[in-house]
């Protein structure tokens, strides 16, 4: 059993203590990202350019490492390539504590330095280490870890920081406002910087051609760290190398916008060290500032491998090295917004991409601790400035965890027939039950209503919670006794003959529509037929989404092959494939790329449509809107029927089909208000899990805030969204196609 009570408790505790501050900040960053990237005319081109630079750089990494060594040495600096954290720390401490005999090292913010834990190594050698980034300094005083890779102290409130200062500095009248707190920190840190011997920075990018490093900052502490000390140590992962200085440009335009929603941060330092500035001698008041001391500066670039060169050889994890650590994937993530990096993170890194970093640097065990928190909603994918398929990395790591942790002794399944997958024996029951949802649904439908009654029975729910981790507060899906495919056959098939039809379409009977929410399938058939489409509803296998969500890649791949086999003839015959469940359409269009031959994937992706996208296309091409259902005319309570609240499915938005429903409803005269919540929080099976029930409800909370009091008719396309919104608002929404389809 995978349910780890401690993990659930930890998440609940963090939601209570840090959740509100993290949510407010990350949602603010996320809104800022939309606004800031929206101001770019060439956003997609810049992302493509950035991606291309990273692909090239990682492909040529050994060559770039040699080149940067030569460049930095020609400038008078030193490059050290450290194999791992211990190697890097040995180099840095020898340089700082022994050669320089330094008492104090000041640091600007660097996640890589957190990764190698250089502070602890230096302190062990008697060097005082001071974090000068205000957020990092607060954490250093509080002895806490960052909760966000860019804004490390977002989990701390202003009041909390004030109390911390009062306690640490024994203040009777501590600073309270943000201004007072900042000025207090500026003054204290200013003094500490003046007396420092060595300055340490990270590097956001390093150009191999010139040895120029780029630092993205806002406070000016990195500038001071470098200016005020005569020895500069820069710590950077080897993946930070790019070929040329000109390559910096797209990243400078993207990194702030993608992260905190700033078009550019206050300071973009491009240093080709050793730098030329004089070193102010703060101990001699009469010494001139410009005393030629810039000539004696010393610079060390410590490039860290620590697992990265192996990640580069790993076809699945390699993409992680393209990450520029902007934090977009954290801010766009519903789960991250609710819990922050203290739950959704490993030893160093947090957010969606952290799974790749932690798996590569620390190992699968560390990644396994939080990898569950990626639900695959995919809202980070369009947010990532270098286009990393972050959910896929999470899926791959989950698959490896599944395989690595398999306990061969655990094979005597009471439900073996329910889990006919291609996964290793010993994979835990909850994972396999969800992964084999299609079989479960088929069985449930065949035995409904007995199955439905049993699924509501208290003792059975308690058992399900204990054995499979399914939270008993959730309503389980109620299986329909007549699946959509059977209903369609029983009604005599298509009502619009092929010969008279404008187009021919196969309505894909996804597992949820076929066995649970048959009504939306029937509505889709009516809507399509009303617009002159010859519809078929053949019996087809599930898309593989549930197993994929559990990291069961082999099972998902096999499903993809079966689905393609079932649809190929239809696609060849020129029939469109219309999909109701957005998570299944997202499989056809995105994930199947990994499972099918290129041509097969392209053919299926090109022939597939979201049902509302398809209706939109039919209307655009001369379909008669009068054939669909317009809102009821009138005033007073009747007018409410015209007003709609719509939550687009997360994956539908990612693949660009979230807005067609809005367009169709508006074309028919509905007044539509669209939810701006990235994901409802249910995310397939995620919200059913006992450990994550409260988290899932919290992620959906903004929907309740936005739509809770509305008299609007709520619509949503995904099955998960439907269940979640039912739980949040007390009433199940319908699919948009049920709103617009003519009545039976």
């Amino acid at each position: 059993m995978s349910s780890d009570a401690a993990k659930g408790d930890r998440i609940r505790e963090l939601m209570a203590t840090e959740g509100d501050a993290v949510a407010e900040n990350t949602r603010g960053f996320n809104r800022g990202r939309y606004e800031s990237t929206g101001r770019l005319d060439d956003y997609e081109e810049l992302k493509a350019e950035a991606r291309e630079i990273k692909e090239d750089a990682i492909a040529r990494l050994p060559e770039l490492i040699d080149e940067v060594k030569a460049s930095v040495e020609a400038n008078g600096g030193t490059v050290y390539v450290a194999d791992d954290a211990a190697d890097a720390n040995r180099y840095v401490t020898e340089l700082t504590a022994e050669e320089r005999d330094a008492d104090r090292l000041v640091k600007s913010k660097s996640m890589t330095s957190e990764e190698i834990e250089v502070n602890e190594a230096l302190e062990a050698e008697g060097v005082e280490v001071i974090e000068t980034d205000l957020g990092e300094w607060v954490l250093q005083l509080a002895d806490e870890a960052p909760s966000h890779i860019v804004a490390p102290a977002i989990h701390k409130s202003r009041e909390g920081i004030s109390e911390l200062f009062a306690e640490r500095f024994d203040l009777d009248d501590p600073p309270e406002t943000a201004e007072e707190l900042t000025m207090f920190a500026r003054e204290r840190l200013g003094e500490l910087v003046e007396g420092a011997d060595v300055g340490m920075t990270g590097a956001n990018f390093v150009a191999a051609d010139s040895g120029t490093m780029l630092l993205v900052t806002s406070e000016g502490n990195a500038r001071k760290t470098v200016s005020a000390t005569d020895t500069h140590v820069a710590v950077a992962g080897v993946e930070k190398l790019v070929p040329t200085v000109e390559d910096f440009s797209p990243f400078v335009e993207l990194i702030g916008r993608s992260g905190t929603g700033q078009d550019v941060t206050s300071y973009i330092s491009t240093l080709t060290p050793p730098v030329d500035s004089p070193v102010p001698d703060f101990e001699s008041d009469d010494e001139p500032l410009a005393d030629g001391s810039g000539d004696d500066r010393d610079f060390h670039l410590v490039l860290i491998d620590n697992g990265r060169m192996e990640m580069r050889e790993d076809e699945q994890l390699k993409e992680t090295l393209y990450c520029i650590r902007c934090s977009a994937c954290s801010n766009a993530c519903g789960n991250f917004q609710s819990v922050g990096g203290h739950a959704f993170g490993g030893e160093t890194y947090s957010g969606g991409i952290a799974t790749g970093w932690e798996a590569g640097i620390e190992g699968l065990d560390t990644a396994a601790e939080f990898n569950d928190l990626c639900t695959g909603c995919s809202r980070c994918v369009p947010a990532c400035p270098v286009g990393i398929d972050i959910p896929w990395i999470n899926t791959v790591v989950r698959d490896r965890i599944n395989r690595g942790e398999a306990d061969p002794g655990q094979t005597d399944w009471m439900f073996e027939e329910l889990v006919p997958d291609e996964e290793p024996a010993g994979l835990d029951l909850a994972t396999r039950l969800v992964g084999n949802y299609e079989t479960l649904a088929k069985w449930g439908s065949r035995t409904a209503p007995v199955a439905n009654r049993l699924s509501d029975a208290g003792p059975l729910r308690a058992l399900a919670e204990r054995v499979a981790g399914i939270d008993r507060r959730r309503d389980l899906p109620e299986f329909a006794s007549e699946p959509l495919v059977d209903w369609f056959a029983a009604r005599g098939g298509a009502r619009v003959p092929a010969a008279e039809a404008e187009r021919e379409a196969v309505l894909y009977p996804d597992t949820a529509t076929n066995y649970v929410d048959v009504d939306r399938g029937k509505a889709a058939v009516r809507a399509l037929e009303a617009l002159g489409v010859h519809v078929r509803v053949p019996d087809l296998p599930g898309s593989g989404r549930p197993p994929l969500s559990q990291g069961m890649i082999a099972t998902a791949e096999s499903a993809a092959e079966d689905v393609y086999a079932g649809l190929a003839t239809h696609v060849d015959a020129g029939r469109d494939v219309v999909v109701i469940e957005p998570s299944d359409l997202a499989m056809f269009r995105s994930e199947y790329e990994k499972f099918l031959p290129e041509t097969s994937h392209e053919r299926l992706a090109a022939a597939s449509y979201d049902v509302m996208e398809y209706v939109f296309g039919l209307l655009e091409n001369g379909g008669d809107p009068a054939a669909l259902r317009a809102p009821v005319e009138g005033t007073g309570p009747v007018a409410a029927g015209k007003r709609v609240a719509y939550h687009p499915h997360c994956q539908a938005r990612t693949i660009g089909v979230g807005e067609h429903a809005t367009a169709v409803m508006e074309a028919l005269g509905y007044d539509v208000r669209v939810s701006d919540t990235e994901c409802c929080g249910m995310a397939g099976s995620f919200g059913y899990k006992n450990d994550y029930y409260e988290l899932s409800m919290d992620v959906g909370e903004p929907i309740r805030e936005q739509f809770g009091d509305t008299d609007r008719t709520v619509v949503a396309a995904g099955t998960s969204c439907t269940e979640q919104i039912d739980a949040l608002l007390g009433d199940a929404p319908m699919h948009p196609v049920e709103l617009v389809a003519p009545r039976e």
Binding site: N75, T132, G135, V138, A151, A153, R158, I161, T177, A178, L181, T182, M183, A185, R186, G190, D209, S210, T212, S218, E219, G220, N221, R223, K224, S227, A228, T244, V245, E246, F248, S249, V252, E253, T260, D263, V264, S266, Y267, I268, S269, T270, L271, T272, V275, D276, S277, P278, P280, D281, F282, D285, D286, E287, P288, L289, A290, G292, G294, D295
Partner: protein
């Protein structure tokens, strides 16, 4: 530099809370005098002159006590309202950083439209001259203490003195290279 770039640059600076004053090179000292607080330190300018009250060879004590630092900018990036501050032995970097107010002098001729232009400019200088350049956009800022505050470590205020083209002689090689690219 085009008229559109100048207006974009000024609009961006305005949105960042940066005051811009404009004049000819001969008016430079006067504009700086109006913009600088007291006491003020500075670094000799490539174009235009400093008012006498700016200390250009400060001691550590004078540097530490300075309210305002006056420096050149090598380049301006119109689309972002950024100015490129180039470190040198005279102390442009510390003078622009350790003060409460940074008064930065930029010639309109050194304004480029967008970020790619800035890095086209920087590339050869980084490779050939090992320059250290900070692209500064507005004042130092932090949101780490529960609200946006200016002057976290660096200057709380920035004032740009923009020198118009037309009335001055010798442009140095930097500006002619840049304008030649446009």
């Amino acid at each position: 530099m085009s008229v559109a770039d100048r207006s974009t640059f000024k609009r961006r600076l305005d949105s960042l809370g940066v005051i811009v004053t404009e004049g000819t090179e001969s008016e430079c000292a006067e504009l700086i005098d109006e913009a600088a607080g007291d006491p003020a330190v500075g670094v000799e300018l490539d174009a235009g002159s400093l008012p006498d009250r700016i200390e250009t060879d400060p001691t550590t004590a004078e540097f530490r006590a300075a309210h305002t630092g006056v420096t050149d900018a090598s380049l301006g990036v119109a689309a972002y309202g950024s100015v490129a501050i180039e470190a040198d032995a005279a102390g442009t970097e510390p003078v622009s950083l350790f003060v409460d107010r940074h008064v930065v002098v930029l010639r309109e001729a050194d304004l480029v439209p967008d970020m790619p232009d800035a890095f086209e400019w920087l590339g050869p200088k980084a490779r050939d001259e090992s320059v250290d350049v900070v692209f500064a956009t507005g004042p130092s800022a932090t949101a780490d203490m529960g609200g946006l505050v200016h002057g976290a470590h660096g200057p709380k205020e920035v004032h740009v003195v923009l020198l118009r083209e037309g009335d001055a002689g010798g442009r140095d090689s930097v500006s002619s290279e840049v304008t030649a690219d446009e």
